[in-house]
């Protein structure tokens, strides 16, 4: 159960994996702790996330999920231990890690295209336009963000995150504020771009159904530690139909939270 899914030998899962190999980066935690003052939020994480894996993190509110994301992105430093990306211990902001926030955080004073190409790397316009097309918003390139719906804003944010081809994409409850239908659309989109771009994905969610629908592996964060590490051993194609195994996994995760 603890063996990473990708390591599994030929199985129906194979078509299920990211098709672009080698883009994702491996992420490893070695005794990572984080405390704010005297309050320990993360109390020792030891964990390897193989390149290209899709991991969901669930846990109670205030359980340190956002803190974990901020450590990976380099917005904060760990109190103890090390975070290794592709084998090297990292500190500070990570250029190959991108973060999708719960609120899309588009710059209101930049049009959609300029938001996607926010870093203004050489050739950004063409790249940004291509990514907007990928998330289905090619025609909205010239719009101001305020005219977009919540789901569209998140899609623009996703395009912005992917424009630099990150090795790791962090998603901090990005769909929490969306309605069920928009959410389902976003799930399909996220699965598609994950397959196409091959990044390592770490999705925080409070929705256990969302976790088992999207991820290869679900981590339950409790009391500052990984309380459960569950492999979702069901092909993605079979997940939408509500397999009994899926319900069983959901129950197991819920009892661990």
């Amino acid at each position: 159960m603890m063996v990473p899914l990708r390591a599994a030998a030929p199985s129906p899962e194979v078509q299920d994996q990211a098709t672009v190999a080698g883009k994702g980066l491996e992420l490893a935690f070695e005794g990572v702790t984080k405390a704010f003052g005297d309050v320990g939020v993360l109390k020792g994480l030891d964990l390897v996330i193989p390149a290209g894996q899709f991991v969901a993190v669930v846990g109670r509110s205030g359980g340190g999920k956002t803190t974990l994301m901020r450590l990976i992105a380099g917005l904060d430093g760990p109190t103890g231990g090390a975070i290794r990306i592709d084998g090297t211990a990292r500190r500070g902001l990570q250029p190959d890690v991108r973060l999708l926030f719960q609120d899309a955080r588009l710059l209101p004073w930049q049009r959609v295209l300029s938001n996607v190409g926010i870093a203004r790397d050489p050739g950004w316009k063409a790249r940004a336009q291509a990514l907007l097309a990928e998330v289905g918003l090619a025609e909205r390139a010239g719009d101001w963000p305020y005219v977009l719906s919540g789901g569209q804003k998140q899609r623009v944010a996703l395009a912005r995150a992917l424009v630099t081809e990150p090795g790791i994409l962090l998603l901090d409850e990005p769909f929490g504020a969306l309605d069920a239908l928009t959410r389902a659309d976003m799930h399909r989109l996220l699965t598609r771009v994950w397959r196409q771009h091959g990044f390592t994905a770490i999705l925080i969610t409070h929705d256990v159904a969302e976790a088992v629908a999207l991820a290869d592996r679900v981590l339950v964060l409790r009391d500052g530690r990984v309380a459960e590490d569950i492999t979702v051993d069901i092909p993605r194609s079979a997940r939408a139909t509500g397999a009994p195994r899926l319900a069983e996994l959901e129950r197991r995760i819920l009892s661990a939270v």
């Binding site: 992105a73 917005l75 209101p108 930049q110 926010i118 870093a119 963000p145």
Partner: protein, 262 residues
């Protein structure tokens, strides 16, 4: 039908002012109103025309505008720069902000006697007063604007690889712009007010001087003309700043509704 109603709608607000103007004109010409109290509107129009033809009105307006703009550039620029620096660097804020807040409490017109002692009644006195007057609204609003930029956006900028300069130019400054423009609008109001007072008290040119000079010769038509010119210049500055706001804040939905309603 609808065009006729629209036309009537457009005209109705003008009826009362026009009627008042007509009554005023008749009252003045019939001698019910002494010209020393209120000159007839037609006399003001004549005064406007003659001072325009002999070049004295453009001359005085030009001088006043020059003082206003110079004071605005110096004081507004300084306030803007101080706001930027204090907004960005906590050390600068610690050193400067409380002093600036203390100075802000001094009404700038109260220092006129000092200013006259320092500069006499030369150009510097007027420009200095305007500069002091506009400095604080520019400073306070710029500072407040920079401080109230959405921290989530700043964090996003950092995660998405913006360096300090790009972060400042693309996130912080645009985020502060609405407040900065509010500061500019305040500054423009204070600019004219300061200039009116300063030119009325001590000047040998400018609209204020023109009005005070006319008062000595009991030329009430000229006095009223001066007042109207001040009002028009103030209105002009307001229109200019609103236009600037609409141009610069095109991205802001609240300005869009404002634009459509205007």
């Amino acid at each position: 039908m609808t065009r006729a109603t629209a036309l009537r709608r457009g005209l109705v607000p003008w009826l009362l002012p026009i009627a008042l103007l007509a009554v005023w004109q008749v009252a003045a010409k019939a001698g019910w109103l002494s010209a020393r109290v209120l000159p007839a509107p037609s006399d003001i129009a004549v005064a406007f025309w003659t001072t325009l033809r002999d070049g004295s009105l453009p001359h005085h307006v030009g001088i006043s505008a020059e003082r206003a703009v110079l004071g605005l550039i110096i004081g507004g620029g300084l306030g803007f720069a101080l706001g930027l620096i204090n907004g960005a660097l906590p050390i600068a804020e610690d050193i400067l902000d409380s002093s600036l807040q203390m100075l802000r409490n001094v009404p700038h017109l109260a220092i006129i006697p000092m200013v006259i002692l320092w500069f006499g009644i030369g150009e510097e006195a007027k420009v200095f007063l305007v500069a002091v007057g506009v400095l604080f609204p520019m400073y306070l609003n710029t500072f407040h604007g920079i401080r109230s930029v959405d921290r989530g956006l700043v964090e996003m900028g950092r995660v998405y690889g913006l360096g300090p300069v790009a972060l400042y130019l693309r996130v912080i400054l645009p985020g502060a712009l609405p407040a900065i423009l509010v500061g500019l609008r305040y500054a423009l109001g204070i600019m004219w007010l300061t200039l009116i007072v300063a030119e009325t008290i001590s000047a040998s040119s400018g609209i204020g001087y023109m009005t005070m000079n006319a008062r000595e010769f009991l030329q009430t038509d000229m006095v009223l003309l001066g007042i109207i010119v001040y009002a028009l210049l103030g209105k002009l500055a307001d229109i200019a700043s609103r236009w600037l706001e609409r141009r610069a804040l095109d991205w802001n939905p609240s300005f869009h509704t404002g634009l459509e309603a205007a």
